[in-house]
């Protein structure tokens, strides 16, 4: 009897830990409310429950159609549209972080349930729509035997690929469907442990520099500070020489980078730290200032100190820059792309953001592609849902968006690494009346105080 009451007590502990203080929906904008830090006994987890799309498709706004242009890929992450309209898809899974604590073993098993079981593609696939009918009938392996390729960029006749351990490039002739040989290495990238292995990539407009986003080697320094050397930062790499320097630091996991057309400013989406509660810490979209420090690990959203990073550094906290735009906690933004007028009037100025979706929130967040409108070159107003339906009402998860890319022909390319599909969301009607997607205004911080 005592034994059973003990089990009951343990059960209550688990239940208590699973109850959040009513997680609010993700909160957007420049000044998200930041609730008190919570340290539960168990992180509340709600892992995606994968299911096949079957006849389903993601939901897109009126005036758009969505088609799967490639399926059965080897974990598609980021895409790139070449000048002739061909699409490159980087496929793979990286990371070799060993489990260190009992927790790591258990969390690893649980989190793996929410991802695809297929092996890492470690390759770049080329998709071609020769007749321009929106169906990509030709599919070739552009390059393989790569090491978890992620970031892609095309500039000055070179295709740059950010593998998990090195930045490499392939010379490219228009119309090529297969790389001529193994790539040339530009520079090694930090790859020790690779807790956050994805190496995001963007090229400066003139092609002189490449920017690589390098994620931290832990959630919040639990692998020790020495493991964080050259981590949680964006490198600026000289395309000619491979020489590199930290361009901006304190960015926990800059999972996607984009250079703003016109201004040439570098922008990033960044995944923030976990285990401070369901509504902390917001993932964000921000312009990246040269030499800027964005807080990780010492503080978040400016000067909010994270006591888990010890010893503290008050001078670093004081220097931390507040990011531009909150995307909501745990949404796991993994893709960002600047839009253009080809996407229709409503989406003419702003960025698309692919949100992979949460794992440690009792009410899941993310699992969609949103559009953050810009005005005068900066985010302005509420985001708009663009591609949804990745997680059904029944709790089943059909897909998880990663990279987003704007096709100048008037489409959004979305990589889905759960169903191993690349989706093409094409504009069919550019008139503004046809495009009336759901506004997410109720959850912005502009002008309303609804928060928790």
């Amino acid at each position: 009897m005592k034994r059973s009451s003990l089990l009951a007590a343990a059960g209550i502990v688990v239940l208590l830990a699973a109850c959040d203080d009513n997680p609010s929906p993700p909160v957007y904008g420049a000044n998200p409310p930041l609730p008190e830090q919570q340290y539960g006994l168990l992180p509340s987890m709600k892992i995606a429950n994968p299911a096949s799309w079957g006849d389903h498709k993601p939901t897109v706004p009126e005036g758009f159609t969505v088609t799967a242009i490639a399926t059965d890929l080897g974990i598609p992450r980021q895409t790139l549209v070449l000048p002739n309209g061909d699409i490159l898809v980087a496929e793979g899974r990286g990371g070799s972080a060993p489990p260190l604590r009992p927790k790591d073993f258990i969390a690893g098993i649980i989190k793996a349930k929410g991802t695809t079981p297929v092996p890492s593609g470690n390759r770049i696939t080329l998709l071609r729509d020769a007749d321009g009918d929106g169906r990509y009938e030709e599919r070739t392996v552009f390059a393989d035997h790569l090491n978890a390729p992620y970031g892609l960029a095309f500039v000055n006749g070179q295709i740059y690929v950010a593998n998990q351990d090195a930045l490499v490039r392939f010379p490219y002739r228009e119309g090529q469907t297969r790389a001529e040989g193994p790539p040339e290495k530009v520079t090694d990238l930090p790859s020790y442990i690779n807790h956050h292995w994805t190496k995001s990539l963007a090229a400066s407009t003139d092609g002189r520099f490449l920017y690589v986003g390098i994620g931290s080697n832990s959630n919040i320094t639990e692998r020790g500070m020495p493991a964080e050397a050259d981590r949680a930062m964006v490198w600026e790499i000289d395309a000619q020489t491979g020489a590199h320097r930290p361009y901006a630091t304190g960015l926990r996991n800059p999972t996607a980078l984009a250079v703003q057309p016109g201004t040439g400013t570098l922008w990033a989406v960044v995944n923030e730290r976990d285990e401070l509660g369901p509504n902390l810490v917001p993932d964000y979209l921000t312009s990246v200032r040269e030499g800027g420090f964005y807080g990780w690990p010492y503080s978040y959203w400016g000067q909010n100190v994270d006591p888990r990073a010890q010893p503290q550094k008050p001078e670093m906290v004081a220097a931390a820059i507040k990011p531009d735009y909150s995307l909501g906690s745990h949404v796991a933004a993994l893709g960002v792309a600047f839009s253009s007028p080809v996407m229709g009037e409503r989406f003419a100025e702003g960025v698309f953001v692919g949100e992979h979706g949460s794992w440690n929130r009792s009410v899941p967040s993310g699992y969609k592609v949103i559009f953050v409108p810009f005005r005068d070159g900066a985010p302005s107003g509420s985001p708009v849902e663009v591609v949804t339906g990745f997680m059904g009402e029944d709790g089943k998860t059909y897909g998880r968006p990663v990279g987003v890319t704007v096709d100048p022909k008037g489409a959004l390319i979305v990589a889905d690494d759960l169903s191993n599909t690349v989706w093409r969301v094409a504009v069919t009607d550019r008139s503004p009346s046809a495009q009336a997607p759901a506004d997410m205004g109720s959850t912005t911080t502009d002008g309303n105080g609804s928060s928790n």
């Binding site: 343990a10 502990v13 006994l41 260190l100 604590r101 009992p102 927790k103 919040i220 639990e222």
Partner: protein, 147 residues
């Protein structure tokens, strides 16, 4: 060390396997406490990794000891006495240890100060449980009587 108790069965010292299970948990919990102290002074993360494993190990042995002590309660019939004290101490040790294991699943300094306090409490209750476990007599098996 044989004493005659009721049912005519001889009382005997703790079963050797039970003794091993019980004795093993104390140094593990104590090691967890020392590692937590080392982490709290040095910020060296490896100490907290050690602490997490030592506590997990202590829980395995404490868990089996608890099960054994629970079964012994029934075998002791009406004369529970110190056996009950032993069981309750082990139960407290296990409950505190479970909470402590969860606290040690937090990242970096997030385990502090809760983890250090709990590790100290668990080390104390584990020491007391071990004391009572080894100093109380149990009812011998019938088999021993017939030989």
């Amino acid at each position: 060390m044989v004493a005659i108790v009721d049912h005519g069965r001889p009382a005997r010292a703790i079963h050797p396997l039970h003794a091993v299970l019980l004795a093993a948990s104390l140094p593990l919990f104590l090691g967890g406490l020392l590692c937590d102290m080392a982490y709290s002074r040095s910020f060296e993360i490896q100490w907290s990794n050690f602490a997490a494993w030592l506590i997990a190990g202590g829980m395995v042995f404490a868990g089996f000891s608890l099960l054994w002590a629970f079964i012994d309660l029934f075998r002791a019939g009406r004369r529970r006495g110190r056996g009950l004290v032993y069981f309750v101490l082990l139960l407290i040790t296990f409950a505190l240890g479970l909470v402590n294991a969860f606290v040690h699943a937090r990242d970096a300094w997030g385990i502090m100060p809760d983890g250090l306090i709990l590790s100290a409490a668990v080390a104390v209750t584990a020491a007391l449980a071990t004391w009572f476990g080894f100093s109380s007599l149990r009812i011998g098996a019938r088999m021993g009587e017939t030989r």
